[in-house]
């Protein structure tokens, strides 16, 4: 039974449980609500939740654990000599899974029978062709060990599914029966239900932690795999990024890091002055009317999806820069400095525009938090407004502004779409902002799109890059937080 229907049945059962539990409580109290310990609905919720929650929890755990369990069992069946050199077990296992999926599909489309699968041998049957006809492409002919493993994999998944349905269903029925039989007018239904709801709330809150753990571990495991296949020295200290499929790729992070930092620097050079001056003007000079018009307009820039900025970089800003700095004598400057629309400057400028509202609204909040009395004191001593801003307000707000700039930098480093579309794909160390360069995020996208093979260093390097990116942005955020906390003036 598909999981979807199992869940539907559980929900139905708990709905029935609600109605029955409520009725039973009312009957036990003789229809007199005052005799019940809790409100009638709580008796209903009690039965419904006891039927639903344990069963759903088990279902979730089962769905997570079953693939892992089967994987370890089946991969033990594959002899070590079957694993080709330079790859690992994962490649063979993905073949096993493919074959088993193919067999499932074949049975579903009635081109094979279960009996046939049980008796067929890898050499005698033209399995590769037959699966190919169903749209399951295999890299090589199916070897006997793989076929055996696939058969076992398929059997185990089927048994697992069946057992899951039975046990989960049983648990739901048990929960239902127990809570239903306990229901009478003196049963403390509300307390039980509230304890259950509390457990759910705690579960929801810990999901955030689970996500972080998921992020860190998923990248950590693959990164460790990557360093098993590729030297970590080359990754951190090499100077060439040249993935290829012959197996001697040079995968170094440094050229990508250079591109990332260069683009972020240009973006900050655009965003910080404009954003900061905009914030100062809005909070110190602008009349309430201008402020109420300009601030929401600025925030629209922040709400525009990054794909729009990416397209803007690729199709508008890039060609415009080429017209200025490229095309030789046809161009505006008559120089030939830029050959294609993608460049560090293209991505940096557009990213700068994207970050303006980010910098300005953060700085605006911080500048507005500086107490008015400080401004009044300065103005009273005869300073002009700009002197007040430069010598009193900005120094007081400086930790917050530095924090805002660091947050903007972390945004710029992690930004993907603008650099994917506007920065280019060439990994190199170059000082010219008109050159096409590439970034960490761009390479993650290009290494992980299309057919990914989780056994090759060319794919796994993306996880190492992702982990570096995660650490880098997290570090910047924490640094920003520390600066704000340590140097913040307490005015109240």
């Amino acid at each position: 039974m598909p999981t979807f229907w199992l869940i539907a049945c559980l929900i139905l059962l708990s709905a029935v449980g609600f109605a029955l539990g409520r009725r039973r409580a009312m009957v036990s109290a003789g229809g007199e609500i005052r005799d019940l310990h809790s409100l009638p609905a709580y008796y209903g919720y009690n039965v419904a939740l006891s039927a639903l929650l344990p069963a759903m929890a088990l279902l979730a755990v089962w769905l997570l654990a079953q693939p892992m369990f089967i994987e370890t069992r089946v991969s033990a069946m594959i002899p070590a000599e079957l694993v080709p050199e330079n790859t690992n077990l994962g490649l063979v296992m993905s073949d096993v899974r493919r074959v088993s999926e193919g067999l499932d599909l074949a049975v579903a489309q009635e081109t094979m029978t279960d009996e046939e699968i049980r008796v067929m041998g890898a050499e005698t049957s033209d399995l590769r062709q037959r699966l190919g006809a169903l749209g399951i492409a295999l890299g090589s002919d199916v070897r006997p060990e793989v076929l055996a493993a696939a058969r076992r994999y398929r059997d185990m998944s089927h048994t697992g599914r069946l057992m899951m349905t039975i046990i989960v269903g049983l648990l739901a029925v048990v929960g239902f029966t127990v809570s239903y039989s306990r229901t009478n007018k003196d049963y403390r239904a509300r307390n039980v239900v509230e304890r259950g709801v509390m457990a759910l709330l705690i579960l929801a809150a810990s999901l955030a932690v689970l996500t972080t753990i998921g992020i860190v571990f998923s990248m950590m495991f693959e990164t460790i795999n990557f360093f098993g296949l590729h030297s970590w020295k080359d990754f951190f200290f090499g100077n060439t990024w040249a993935p290829n499929f012959r197996g001697d790729s040079e995968l170094s992070m440094l050229p990508l890091l250079w591109g990332t930092l260069y683009i972020s620097l240009i973006a900050l050079l655009v965003a910080v002055p404009i954003g900061l001056f905009a914030a100062i003007y809005l909070s110190e000079y602008a009349s309430p009317t201008i402020r109420s018009v300009a601030k929401p307009l600025l925030e629209i820039l922040a709400g525009i999806p990054t794909i729009v900025y990416g397209l803007f970089a690729l199709l508008t800003v890039g060609p415009m820069l080429v017209r200025i700095f490229g095309r030789g004598d046809d161009g505006l400057l008559g120089v030939e400095w830029m050959s294609g629309a993608t460049s560090v400057l293209t991505a940096g400028l557009v990213m700068g525009i994207m970050l303006i509202p980010f910098v300005s609204s953060l700085s605006d909040d911080i500048i507005s938090a500086v107490p008015q009395s400080m401004r009044d004191g300065s103005l009273g001593l005869g300073a002009t407004r700009s002197e007040t801003v430069r010598q009193v307000v900005i120094p007081a707000a400086l930790p917050g502004i530095v924090g805002a700039v660091l947050l903007a930098a972390s945004r710029a480093i992690g930004e993907t779409m603008i650099v994917v579309m506007g920065a280019g794909a060439v990994a190199k160390f170059s000082a010219s902002p008109l050159d096409s360069m590439t970034t960490i995020t761009t390479r993650i996208v290009s290494q992980l799109t299309g057919d990914t093979d989780f056994a090759s260093p060319e794919t796994l390097v993306a996880f190492a890059l992702g982990l570096s990116l995660f650490v880098l942005t997290l570090g910047l955020n924490i640094l920003a937080l520390i600066i704000v906390r340590t140097y913040r003036e307490q005015y109240d």
Binding site: P67, L207, A208, T211, I304, V308, M417
Partner: protein
């Protein structure tokens, strides 16, 4: 400072000294910087919006060619028994000659002089016209033998010519169009056969292959986005509200709560592509969920949106005054009842506003979708059920736009900008709803 000021005998407060003038000039300059900064930002916004609309509105209009096609029996149904299985055997290649002769007949009827061969004349009609004709014949086999009027899409070059994207003097190397064909188009346009009208297919239609930019539409990818948003809403609202209620109302002050709180604020700043990596590693590689499925996209976007929703929900809960909780507890409600019966309903508008803004963010997010395979895929079939809408491969609006921007034919760029207009329309609509909700229901205590 004072020791630098030379004493100025006889100086009056009413006359400006050189130093005052300098200070005032600095003041004016400083203010001007602020105005320039604001103007630059607003100018950028203006440039962005004008670019989007000037380049994208074209996608909502399309060039059509109206032709009378004679559905020849000897070509479409050789046996003449109107057997649907036999009719279906005729592939789109069998229909192409009908279109060719229809174009030729039209040209002859209007008396347009053209040195073109029939095949070249038919080149102004979209490559998808034969399939359109075939679909019609299969749906109406009884019309075989009649002459039926059809509106075919013009090829993308002809469409570009009418929209000013394709110019006569720049098509020297283009093998898809020739000046003679454009002359023919001019003639047909004068006769009203070729015209440009509103193109609903861009909004509700499916994506098309690289060869037929004129037929590409956003419809199917909109369904993909819709399915993802349903998943995000169904998961992130209950989880986000649950987490916020626990943290705001029940959590004891200890290190565990601290960890959770720091965690959530850090998750909000994690680059979105990292969530894509998580989705690829956990949902696809480990749990073997289908690649390119909106369900996986929805799960990834849920994780990404959760921190936003939690942060805004906590703010909404915090805004409900404690006296309300105390009053509820005072008349004998349990803590859970106080929260669910009194605090939550009062915080609901704020929570909804935050959720809508979170959803709008998720709708425009592209980077994680690239990693779980929602690009590089032609979303040509609309899903036929809810389950297939969630599980069968699909694209999403931003992913579709990215896909078009990558293709070589510039005719797709217009589609990409047009898609952005549609995407922005949804974002603006969602944000407007959020603002209205806040204005109407927000209570200040």
């Amino acid at each position: 400072m004072s020791d630098h000021i030379p004493r100025q005998h006889g100086a009056s407060l009413l006359t400006k000294t050189a130093r005052t003038k300098k200070r005032n000039a600095a003041e004016t300059r400083f203010k001007a910087y602020g105005i320039v900064a604001i103007s630059i930002s607003l100018l950028m916004l203006l440039v962005l919006v004008t670019t989007i609309f000037s380049k994208g509105l074209g996608a909502y209009q399309q060039t059509f060619i109206t032709l009378q096609v004679e559905l020849l029996e000897k070509k479409l149904d050789k046996k003449g028994n109107r057997n649907l299985a036999d009719i279906k055997k005729v592939s789109t290649f069998g229909y192409a000659p009908l279109i060719k002769s229809a174009v030729a007949a039209k040209v002859e009827e209007l008396g347009i002089e053209s040195g073109l061969k029939t095949k070249q004349m038919a080149g102004i009609v979209s490559k998808g016209a034969a399939a359109q004709l075939r679909d019609y014949v299969i749906a109406h086999p009884e019309r075989i033998g009649d002459t039926v009027e059809f509106r075919f899409l013009a090829s993308s070059r002809v469409d570009g010519y009418l929209k000013g994207r394709v110019h006569r003097d720049r098509i020297g190397n283009d093998k898809n169009i020739s000046p003679e064909q454009l002359d023919l188009v001019d003639g047909l346009m004068a006769a009203g056969v070729v015209n440009k009208t509103f193109n609903i297919d861009f909004i509700i239609g499916a994506d098309a292959s690289d060869q037929r930019p004129e037929a590409a539409g956003m419809g199917v990818s909109m369904l993909g986005s819709l399915s993802m948003m349903l998943v995000v809403l169904a998961l992130s609202l209950p989880i986000g509200v649950g987490a916020s209620i626990y943290l705001e109302e029940f959590a004891p002050k200890n290190w565990l709560t601290d960890i959770i709180e720091v965690n959530i604020s850090n998750l909000a700043a994690v680059p979105s592509i990292v969530y894509g990596i998580l989705g690829l590693a956990v949902f696809i590689n480990y749990m073997h969920m289908p690649m390119s499925a909106p369900l996986v996209g929805g799960l990834v976007l849920t994780l990404m949106t959760l921190p936003t929703i939690i942060i805004s929900t906590r703010a909404a809960l915090k805004a409900v005054p404690p006296s309300l909780r105390d009053a509820a507890l005072g008349v004998g409600a349990s803590r859970m009842q106080a929260v669910f019966h009194h605090v939550l309903p009062l915080a609901a508008p704020g929570i909804l506003t935050g959720t809508i803004i979170g959803l709008a963010q998720a709708l425009g997010e592209t980077a994680p979708l690239l990693l779980i395979g929602m690009v590089g895929y032609i979303a040509s079939n609309a899903p036929d059920s809810i389950a297939s809408g969630l599980l069968s491969p699909n694209s999403a609006m931003p992913a579709q736009i990215y896909e078009w921007a990558k293709r070589a034919d510039p005719a797709f760029y217009e589609r990409a900008w047009g898609g952005i207009i549609l995407l922005l329309f949804f974002l603006v609509a969602m944000n407007t709803v959020a603002v209205i909700l806040r204005r109407r229901f927000e209570r200040r205590w």
